[in-house]
Symmetry: C2
Subunit: 318 residues, 2 copies
């Protein structure tokens, strides 16, 4: 395990670097990789990002300027925001056993690099990359913009519980470089597709409440996705929706993956242990957020989940 100074020192010694991002790339892996690439290029190095086939319309613009040309042969490989090699995109698999440096903030980080740096208290890997870049030279606007994307997306625009004083301090330093964060805020936090809004409205309209209205069950059957011709990008993180209903401290979201195969996401307050609820159905996670998959028709799958919640909460009422 390296120190932050040691990690910066390693990077200063590298050249011809390939940076890897994770499967289903989010703002943090894309923004961290882009900023690191920009920062190392500012030192005169040759650096590229390994193309990631799953970029979305809103993450791609931050990634593409740094995408590696076909046939780029790196001397050094660095991964950012990847907890385990299981999360490597397929085209990164050839590098799985030759990562020189792995930088991450997940508690579950598996230290698969030859050198590793992890800081689980960081709200985003972007916070760590900021610290590294600040040691390598001035943090310019070109680095600050993707870093703002990385940090703001991983902390829900400073609303999630991983946000710390340091998260805000780094945001202040990034904005000080003169970047326009309004475009980022609007794009990532204040825009929803019409299909997404239709999905949310339908889910809320059909929501069921139990246990004195403290347990909500929201469903996304395949038929609903088809009805709105919704894409996967319209359905991202739909499990957060139930968690914002006033008075609800256990929000269950049922997503139909294939006919009669339901993926449950449970978001719970202190009264309900989401892991316990999901473990009984073969899943797991954290106390506040857990998941499991149940193969059964809708009513049956829902009943099993409610039974499991009833076992976890002594005074449960349907």
């Amino acid at each position: 395990m390296r120190t932050i100074a040691g990690t910066a020192g390693l990077l200063r010694s590298y050249d011809n670097i390939l940076i890897l991002t994770h499967l289903r790339p989010d703002g943090d892996t894309v923004g961290s990789a882009a900023a690191l690439c920009a920062g190392l290029r500012a030192l005169g190095k040759t650096v590229f990002l390994l193309p990631n086939p799953e970029l979305t319309e809103i993450t791609a613009p931050y990634f593409q300027p740094y995408a590696a040309p076909e046939g780029f042969q790196p001397q050094r490989v660095v991964s950012v925001d990847i907890a385990t090699t299981n999360l490597f995109p397929e085209n990164a698999m050839p590098y799985a056993d030759r990562v020189d440096l792995a930088i991450d903030h997940h508690p579950s980080f598996e230290r698969f690099g030859r050198d590793n740096y992890v800081r689980p208290s960081a709200a985003a890997t972007g916070e760590i990359i900021y610290d590294i870049l600040a040691r390598l030279g001035p943090v310019t606007a070109e680095m600050a913009l993707p870093l703002y994307v990385a940090i703001s997306t991983d902390c829900g625009c400073f609303a999630y519980s991983n946000t710390t004083a340091y998260t805000h301090a780094v945001a202040a330093a990034l904005i000080q470089t003169g970047i326009d964060v309004q475009v980022v805020n609007k794009r990532f936090f204040r825009t929803k597709s019409r299909k997404r809004l239709a999905l949310e409205a339908a889910m809320l309209g059909a929501a069921e409440y139990h246990d004195g209205e403290r347990v909500a069950v929201l469903a996304v059957p395949l038929a609903l996705m088809e009805r709105f011709q919704a894409a996967e990008s319209d359905a991202e993180d739909l499990s957060a929706l139930g968690g914002q209903i006033q008075g609800v401290d256990c929000a269950v979201t049922m997503r139909e993956l294939r006919p009669d195969v339901w993926k449950f996401s449970v978001r719970a307050g202190p009264r309900v242990n989401a892991t316990e609820v999901c473990a009984r159905l073969g899943g797991g996670g954290h106390a506040a957020a857990a998941g499991c998959t149940v193969e059964a028709p809708f009513e049956d799958a829902k009943r099993r989940m409610l039974d499991s919640i009833a076992q976890a909460v002594p005074d449960f009422t349907l």
Copy 2:
């Protein structure tokens, strides 16, 4: 107009102080007043907030510990976050011509105090109160919590365009005092009432799109409020909803105030000047957000608005 040091000096010279908040009190006026009260009490002064009859369930807890007892006779009167005496609650009117110090961040601030401090670049009056308190002594957790409420609510949890590097720097300093901002974030930014969610779903379900889907019209007829037995608190800031629809750069929200009396709120991107659109119907505002009121049946009122938008946008298509 005082400097920040001069303003802090004035407050240090005061005692037996009454602090005023504005009509329809929001997080900024309540949080700023509570923090200033706590800070001045820490200097040994007698300070109270004039009771505000319109506190909501989520703002009241920050206000009540400092509410003035009946019959409190102040020597000094200070207003926070109030742009004009027109925004004084009725019980503050007797103090309208004897405000010793008025502190505000609105560009429209009318300098109605004997002394005045205004900083329009501040995202919230809370930023100014922080600067004042930092000059008067250590900013404690008791002051920091309401200040975080003040600042975060006025900048949409750091997502609105008024958020600056300084806004984040102050947030970092506040969190450093050890306050639990997660309760605030959850309560103000990640919770919606079931009635509010039902209103939003119904509005989106019935939304009309024009001009190549760039103009959206969302309506809140009286019948909709009645259908869900929604209260005023469920309908706050509903005009923000249309602004988040992907591809829409002119969101029109029509709220029926009384039968056939429609209050329009227009939120627009750079293509459409919202003031121009609303001015033609007797209203006004800013280029990005404006409003007007039209007395007419729904279809007629809507038609007048669309006609006005069509005049402002040369290539408008229904």
